[in-house]
Amino acid sequence: MSPDAPAILARLLRSNGLGWLIEEQANPGQASELIPRLLGQLEQVETKYRERIGVSIPFTPEALEAEAAQNPHKVRAFLQAMREGRSPEMLVMVWRILQGLSIRSIELKYLEGHEFSLTVVLAPTKGDQQGEKYRSSDIFDARLLRHFGCGTIAGNPLFEGFYPVQARDDRR
């Protein structure tokens, strides 16, 4: 991470309607703990992405800012996911959807007080390559599901894409 990374990340959060998180986390007279935590989370996602996909791509604030210039909605959705989802594996899943992969299947298992598991399988829309399976047993990762676009294709059910949730006062 560059010395500018914390400031860039803070700018990204503010420009994507998440600035209130910084203020909320800051104690009077102290720096927010949020930024260092999110920077650490980004490093974990980068490592997990390399492990899972076998390719190294930067998940630095600089890289996200550059992507935001092209696809602001994707970066906004990813930043919201960082707040909502906690496991690096599931954040890699989010990024893979943003890269264009399709959501092939979702399995959700929940037993009150005992068990939670979420499995998402992604695959390219074109061709029949083997799917990528992402698992989580952290119930807070269930919050990611609300970002999926939902519809039908020729009358059949479809989850498609990962989109930002907009606050009412964010509407443009």
Binding site: W20, N71, H73, R146, G149, G161, Q166, R168, R172
Partner: protein
């Protein structure tokens, strides 16, 4: 299949909503039609267009309702230039409509051959960038080899991942790379401030019109994360 135009009235009216003053609007129509103007008349190789202020223009009524187009500010009365083949005339009107829509102008056509003209389907959205993204993803469900082009810059995008959705105002979508070179069917997606406008060509090639219509229907049914209250 050659369209039949025998005994068909070729007169066509296009109502257009625009904030431009009359003189500027006439000049803009000349530009869209690629023609020359004389007074309130614009002519190109195929179209003879008389432009008038709409007598019943109503700024309020023109904003909503199924018949809002009746109250648009300007009206274009179009006839073929003598000697123009009906097919060429209809194609020229289609091109004019697409050009008007591409500038995000509200333009509604009324004539006996509407089914042979491109159709505009507005898809309202609060987040046009994200919705354009979703539309591109739906396209792949129908055309696995789809190719995209930004008609403003001429830049082509062979895959979804390469499209900078925040930077494109329009996307031309072709079924595959062959169609990109010799288009006979395409979908045009126009990003406007509060909607995506899908332009479906009036082409009568095979089943494409119904396929495009079904693609656009699936786009219109997409649901996105609901609004949350701001913290």
């Amino acid at each position: 299949m050659q369209p039949v135009f025998d005994n068909m009235d070729l007169f066509c009216r296009i109502n257009v909503q625009s904030d431009l003053a009359f003189e500027d609007f006439v000049a803009s129509v000349a530009q869209h039609a690629g023609g020359s103007r004389h007074m309130n008349v614009v002519q190109n190789g195929a179209l003879d267009i008389s432009i008038h202020k709409n007598d019943i223009f109503d700024p309020l009524k023109s904003r909503s309702g199924e018949d809002r187009w009746l109250y648009f500010r300007y009206t274009l009365e179009i006839d073929p230039i003598p000697g123009t083949a009906p097919g060429g005339y209809v194609a020229a009107i289609g091109a004019l409509l697409k050009s008007l829509w591409s500038s995000a102008l509200d333009a509604v056509v009324s004539c006996d051959f509407e089914d042979r003209l491109p159709r505009l389907v507005p898809l309202p959205t609060a987040d046009p960038i994200a919705f354009l993204d979703a539309c591109a993803r739906i396209v792949y469900r129908y055309w696995a080899q789809a190719r995209f082009e930004d008609p403003t810059t001429g830049k082509r995008y062979p895959s979804y991942q390469e499209i900078p959705f925040g930077g494109v105002k329009q996307l031309l979508v072709y079924p595959n790379s062959e169609a990109e070179v010799a288009p006979n069917s395409m979908l045009r997606l126009i990003r406007s401030p509060q909607s995506i406008l899908a332009v479906i060509d009036g082409s009568e090639v095979g089943d494409r019109p119904s396929l495009l219509a079904s693609m656009v229907t699936d786009m219109s049914r997409m649901e996105f994360p609901r609004y949350r209250e701001a913290a």
